[in-house]
Symmetry: C2
Subunit: 396 residues, 2 copies
């Protein structure tokens, strides 16, 4: 069978092979990129789903508007307002089938084969493959503990004239980094100066430990004239409520939103109205603040435990910035004391010792840093985090 040319642009085996090993009994896994099922508010979701089926069974089970179920759009606009983006109206967003679909729609709507897109190096794996399927050439902007380096970003924008710039500015996957306030403002200024669309992917911003993070680019855009018309923002309930609902959303300038809606019509017609009505009732019931408090508290404990254990057991053989939110510790093997410097090699040895994680190289669209690794603390309790890190130290 002859497949479409676009399939030649992607390669997906890198991590898949590793995941096959995760079935081994007794493995402690830091490899996942998902929230802990034990924290799902099952009772709240059941109540919301039953309310949807009782109060509006027709709407919850029938075809719906491609833009999204109106009561959910209203709830999501209010949710964004509560997070500082005070001027988001329901009409400014569409509901997507997880935020993965928002990425797909951005690719479908904007990328012609050969177009350039700037992403962070490293960035979300599925973003890399998603945009490549549409023929994008990806350019990597360097990231440090304060997020993407805006001077380097400006030079890359000037040089490559990208179709858009894709960033995960808050608790980035995999970097865990958060863009500083100064750089946030600078990114929006660059958008205006170079008339370049910026995509802010923000699945983790609600998962902060302690202080709330910097305002989102979306919230900040109100103070940088012209930037709102060059900004798309992707949100998701997956990390805070439930990935299984597959409810994400995209806020974007009207023209882009209209084209994305047209494309979505032919992608899946609309996102499950059953899931949308359930999410709408959940948000309406006012349960979200307590749910967020709960997950923040638990993940904060786990992040702290992982940071402490890494410092204690691996010492100067590893370097990382203690995460202030999100699901991940992004680390680098220093080679100190003659220890391993290859993330991939450590991953292989770690599996033998009974602990799994994802090496960092595949997260780079190009020029991978082979010494990096991503460790998720989200789904493992504190005792197992300590045991897993001890095993990691043995593998090093």
């Amino acid at each position: 069978m002859q497949f479409a040319d676009r399939l030649n642009n992607v390669e997906t085996s890198a991590i898949r092979e590793l995941f096959k090993l995760l079935g081994k009994p007794g493995i402690i896994s830091f490899a996942g990129g998902f929230p802990d099922s034990a924290m799902f508010d099952v009772a709240g979701i059941r109540e919301a789903s039953n309310a949807a089926l009782t109060e509006e069974p027709g709407a919850a089970l029938q075809y719906g508007a491609t833009e999204g179920y109106q009561p959910l759009r209203e709830q999501l606009a209010a949710f964004m307002t509560s997070k500082g983006a005070t001027d988001v109206a329901p009409e400014n967003l569409i509901v997507t089938t997880g935020s993965q679909q928002a990425l797909d729609l951005l690719g479908k709507t904007l990328i012609s084969p050969g177009d350039k897109v700037i992403v962070e190096g490293p960035t979300f794996l599925a973003t890399i493959q998603c945009f490549r399927l549409y023929g994008a050439e990806l350019i990597c902007a360097p990231v440090d503990g304060d997020g993407v380096q805006t001077d380097a970003l400006e030079a890359l924008i000037a040089q490559h004239k990208p179709k858009f710039v894709y960033l995960i500015p808050t608790f980035g996957n995999p970097s865990g980094a958060t863009l500083s306030a100064q750089r946030r403002k600078r990114v929006l200024e660059l958008a205006v100066q170079y008339q370049t669309l910026v995509v802010e992917d923000d699945p983790y911003g609600d998962l902060y430990f302690g202080e709330a993070p910097q305002p989102s680019l979306l919230a900040l855009s109100a103070s940088v004239p012209g930037s709102r018309e060059l900004l798309a923002h992707c949100g998701s309930l997956s990390k805070v409520l439930s990935p299984g609902l597959r409810v994400g959303w995209m806020i974007a300038p009207a023209e882009l939103l209209a084209k994305a809606t047209m494309c979505k019509q032919f992608s899946d017609a609309h996102t499950s109205t059953f899931a949308q009505a359930t999410a709408a009732h959940y948000l309406k019931a006012g349960r979200m603040p307590a749910t967020l408090d709960h997950v923040r508290t638990v993940y904060a404990q786990r992040a702290l435990a992982m940071g402490n254990a890494l410092r204690k057991d691996l010492g100067d053989a590893i370097s990382f910035v203690q995460p202030r939110g999100g699901l991940f510790v992004w680390a680098r093997l220093t080679g100190a004391g003659g220890k391993l410097q290859s993330g991939a090699e450590l991953a292989r040895r770690a599996i033998e010792k009974g602990v799994a994680f994802v090496p960092g190289a595949p997260f780079y669209a190009r020029d991978p840093d082979l010494a990096t690794l991503r460790l998720s603390f989200a789904t493992v309790d504190v005792a197992k985090i300590e045991e897993g890190v001890a095993r990691l130290a043995q593998a090093l």
Copy 2:
């Protein structure tokens, strides 16, 4: 903002303008392409959803495999077996976000810009736009009361060497036609003879009135050696249970299924596990046969009422084949008695008289028959069908 070149291939305003008029109070609408909300088995779906959240809350709310939730794949394989495709294993199918996503994945996986795809003339509107977004050039094969004309189809395959042939062989949308037994066999033979993939889209096959229709191409493929490896089959719960669940599936040769799964990973990661687990429990509970009996009975009454009313009120000014299943009457204005021959003009006048339907021209990928119209009887009760057809006669 500069959008991707692929957006130049689609045009979606044709029907949208008409739909804007449907909000007018008192309009009787034959325009929809959806099932009647009043027939949804709300109690059964609520029970299934609660069972899913009680028995496996983690799985129902967590990320899931891109291929689909395994218990649902098992139920769907059993459902296909019950419909005569006795050799479908869970591994032979993936779950899709409605069967619209199966079409999108076929496009993404198979169509390079400039590739040719043969479709029926007329065919499902969203199929036309979906494949065009991937750059397909669409070729129309002629259809009569027995479905696609296989002699013409063979000539088109030989001439155009299409990437694949897309058919809705049973109670087609919009044609209502069902492919005869002889032609079904011939389509499969052509697939083998010309080594051309055939896509069978089958959302309506379960909605038969009276006798069950011909076996699906999928079921028949067992008796045409080599054809199974050149056949993709798309199914959906949308027309028989609930569109809002957005649960469809695709059965295809292993290599194609693997590529489609890879593409789906970057389209939406997976279909809502909440919806999938609900559908799995619904099927497992054994409720489907009674649900199907119910919708068949109601739609059969409405189809009969519409056919009778059309014959009585419009006489020889309209010609159509009485549907034996599905949701639609596909009709043609004959011009007899000096009456209207333009479907679009009749649609405009009909709105004035208080009845809506969709003119047939947009359903043709090329060379539209301007005298055609599609009337859905699915969501209107018998009394309103009679009233609506009377209004239609006044508009003619």
